[in-house]
């Protein structure tokens, strides 16, 4: 059987490079799953969770801040703007990022603030926090 090769790269480093059975992606036009012999596709994806099922059916979750995915000949290439494995999420950092963004939105005086950007920052931080909580529950 053909193997499905997954590679996840972010600007900082290559996060992941392994053979997997399936990957679920929070695509811009709805979440989708990639299995072996998936049709070639290039898609963008949003802030959300990437679910990776590895060969021995271990399930792993990653928090991502969006990016692009390419599938070609059973090779999946994910270029993420930011991505971390669920166990690597820095909860304190996400919390402080959320607080900062909220402060920016509530600060009506300053016109230069990019509300859209702040909202996106909140979304990213919340995504991380939810996943981190999920992870803590599973290990406790």
């Amino acid at each position: 059987m053909a193997e499905l090769n997954l590679e996840i790269t972010s600007p900082e480093k290559t996060v992941f490079s392994e053979i997997v059975t399936s990957v679920t992606i929070p695509g811009t036009e709805g979440s989708f799953q990639v299995l072996v012999n998936h049709a070639p596709i290039i898609s963008t994806f949003e802030i959300g969770t990437i679910k990776i099922v590895s060969e021995n059916s271990d399930v792993q979750f990653c928090a991502t801040a969006g990016g692009t995915i390419e599938v070609l000949n059973n090779k999946i290439l994910i270029l993420a703007d930011a991505i971390e494995l669920i166990k690597d999420i820095d909860v304190d950092r996400a919390k402080s990022a959320k607080e900062r963004a909220e402060k920016r939105i509530s600060d009506k005086e300053n016109k230069e603030i990019d509300v859209e950007r702040a909202k996106a920052a909140i979304k990213r931080a919340e995504n991380r926090l939810i996943l981190a909580e999920m992870y803590l529950k599973t290990i406790s």
Partner: protein, 292 residues
């Protein structure tokens, strides 16, 4: 003939210099380690994103997004990546030489006008005296490289390109090969060069599904592609600079050691000669006395 005192002074002077060059070498080595790690981590993303671009873009797409548009090359922006500081061997000179070559040979042959964007003080110092107009300068960015620098550069370049101030952008920079080796590269940055989707792959060029649509993906991916490339080149240049400085300072320290050694030998010979001379004088003086 140099006196003993002169030689001693020179030896001390060279010793001090070699202390400084040795310290600089250590500093460069420490910085190099960090810079090297960064460039190695940044490379995969930059390469992957450009290979994805080459899968995505075909010639029919050039009109789809303004950044892909092909225009007749009349004005060219050349981005010169040098260091802010010297004492790194031929690092800066090589870049300046290559830039001049590109301007004189490649660009003037097609009758294109050149604009320069100098990143790094050394390049700016050189080119401000010349008669090529400067687009902008960025000095002191290498001491704390972060994504802000990248955004700044890409903003200048992209807005200039979209306003048709220039039709082509070339980067001249040092690629980091190894600690002791750098390679001067001139690379076209815009219009995005699609490496004709290299022959092997073009045969397997698949009919992709695009989600949400090709244009949207391009609009999303292109800015990312550009900043990833700028980021990579900045890191390459930074790592090369530290490597070049380390090598140059290592050579300087070795040279200083050689000099000190040969000077010490001269000093000792001179000293011995002086002592011998003194003894001779004393002995002959004593002899003269005893003969009387």
């Amino acid at each position: 003939m140099a006196t003993l005192r002169d030689i001693k002074l020179r030896i001390n002077g060279i010793k001090n210099t070699s202390k400084i060059t040795n310290a600089m070498k250590m500093v460069a080595a420490a910085k190099l380690r960090r810079a090297q790690a960064r460039v190695i981590n940044a490379r995969p993303y930059a390469h992957k994103i450009s290979s994805m671009m080459s899968h995505l873009v075909t010639e029919e797409d050039y009109a789809l997004v303004p950044l892909l548009e092909r225009r007749e090359t009349k004005n060219v922006a050349v981005v010169v990546l040098t260091a802010d500081r010297g004492l790194c061997g031929a690092f800066n000179n090589n870049i300046i030489k290559e830039t001049n070559r590109v301007i004189d040979e490649d660009l003037s042959s097609i009758g294109a006008k050149t604009l320069l964007l100098c990143v790094g003080k050394k390049g700016y110092d050189y080119f401000k005296k010349g008669d090529i107009p400067l687009l902008d300068k960025m000095i002191g960015v290498f001491s704390s490289l972060d994504l802000n620098t990248t955004n700044l550069i890409s903003e200048v370049l992209v807005s200039g390109y979209l306003q048709k101030k220039f039709d082509k952008i070339i980067f001249v920079y040092n690629e980091f090969k190894s600690i002791i080796q750098q390679k001067v590269v001139s690379e076209t940055f815009l219009p995005v060069s699609i490496e004709s989707a290299n022959e092997k792959e073009s045969s397997t060029k698949a009919n992709y599904i695009y989600e949400p649509g090709k244009k949207e993906i391009l609009e999303y991916l292109l800015p990312k592609h550009l900043s990833a490339q700028i980021w990579r080149m900045l890191l390459e240049s930074n790592a090369s600079e530290q490597g070049a400085r380390m090598t140059a300072m290592d050579n300087a320290t070795t040279n200083a050691k050689d000099l000190i050694r040969s000077l010490t030998i001269t000093y000792n010979k001179e000293r011995q000669a002086a002592i011998t001379k003194e003894i001779l004088e004393i002995v002959s003086g004593a002899n003269a006395l005893s003969e009387n």
